[in-house]
């Protein structure tokens, strides 16, 4: 795993500070703070929910659950040590709840998370291939890959977000990579 560039880390600290101020405003009853909170965190939460549920509609429901809970209990977030990770945990739990509510026969979107990448290019083709392979992973491993790869979280933070010990989070990531490697080998 490559270390994030220093500028990116500074950006994360700035986002964390900004989020803390917004969370304090929200706790004081300023519902307008939901707008900038959305701008700061919605992509993270949506991506996490998408990787956990494997389904765009379910991920949207999970994100909506998070913000509705935020609006109904705005002071809960203000008490958290790390509001951003607290939001991630809320999104993870909401996604798990959504998956539990979903009927087992519902199909899982294979083409999730491709975003705006063009599959006709080489990078896009690789991305599409990665998405297809990721869809075969168990949801718990998939969300661990998301948090490690996109959010650059430590295994301790991933464990805190997903509600498992650090060792389990690391183990899930290792198993996910091994399974991906196996699937890539089988493709050849």
């Amino acid at each position: 795993m490559e270390m994030a560039p220093r500028a990116e880390k500074r950006g994360r600290v700035r986002v964390a500070d900004e989020l803390s101020k917004l969370v304090a405003d929200l706790a004081d009853g300023c519902m307008e703070a939901l707008n900038p909170i959305w701008d700061l965190c919605a992509d993270d939460l949506f991506g996490l929910a998408l990787y956990r549920t494997g389904n765009v509609g379910d991920a949207e429901d999970a994100v909506q659950d998070v913000f509705v809970r935020l609006a109904s209990k705005p002071k809960a977030l203000a008490r958290a040590d790390n509001p951003r990770n607290y939001l991630r945990r809320m999104a993870h739990n909401a996604a798990v709840d959504v998956v539990k509510r979903r009927r087992p026969a519902d199909p899982i979107d294979v083409a999730f998370a491709l975003g705006d990448q063009d599959p006709s290019t080489e990078t896009g083709a690789d991305a599409k291939r990665a998405v297809v392979l990721l869809a075969h992973l168990p949801a718990s491993q998939r969300v661990t890959v998301f948090l490690r790869h996109f959010e650059d979280l430590s295994f301790r933070e991933i464990g805190a977000v997903t509600g498992v010990p650090t060792f389990t989070a690391a183990s899930r990531y290792r198993l996910a990579l091994r399974r991906l490697r196996t699937m890539m080998g089988a493709e050849r």
Binding site: M1, M31, L34, N35, W38, A42, D43, L45, F46, G47, L50, Y51, V56, E60, V63, Q64, F67, V68, L70, A71, S72, P74, F112, A113, G115, D116, Q117, E122, T123, A125, D126, A127, R129, A130, V131, L133, V145, H149, F150, L177, L180, R181, M184, G185, R188
Partner: protein
């Protein structure tokens, strides 16, 4: 395909973007939830809370039980009569005879004072002689 390392494959992936139309839907739902619930005052919440109602009923039941256990309180005239009886009991003590016994059996205060004066005089006389 450029690499067989899954990490390289993952680096080709971009972060998923939240659908633009979701923001309006979610935020309006969240704000609706917040405005739908009227913020009640602390006093109102206390009086309408189930916990307080249970506490109130429990306190009343407790008072009734204590009242039944202790029985009815005495009437004021009974209380007054009790005080009179107590006073009579105190008066019934034979204090006069006890005082007489004391007087007959020991020195009076005047006798004690006299004895003390004698002692002082004797000691002063002895001091002058020495």
């Amino acid at each position: 395909m450029t690499s067989h390392d899954p990490r390289d494959l993952l680096h080709g992936l971009s972060r998923p973007k939240v659908p633009a139309e979701l923001k309006q839907r979610v935020l309006s739902a969240a704000k609706q939830v917040n405005t739908g619930v009227e913020r009640r005052s602390l006093e109102e919440r206390l009086w309408t809370s189930a916990g307080l109602r249970y506490a109130w009923v429990a306190a009343v039941l407790f008072l009734v039980a204590v009242n039944v256990f202790l029985g009815p309180p005495p009437a004021p005239w009974d209380v007054a009569a009790g005080r009179v009886a107590q006073t009579n009991w105190m008066e019934s003590l034979d204090l006069e005879s006890a005082l007489d016994d004391h007087r007959s059996g020991g020195p009076t205060v005047a006798e004690v004072h006299g004895a003390y004066d004698d002692y002082l005089c004797d000691s002063m006389v002895q001091g002058d002689q020495s």
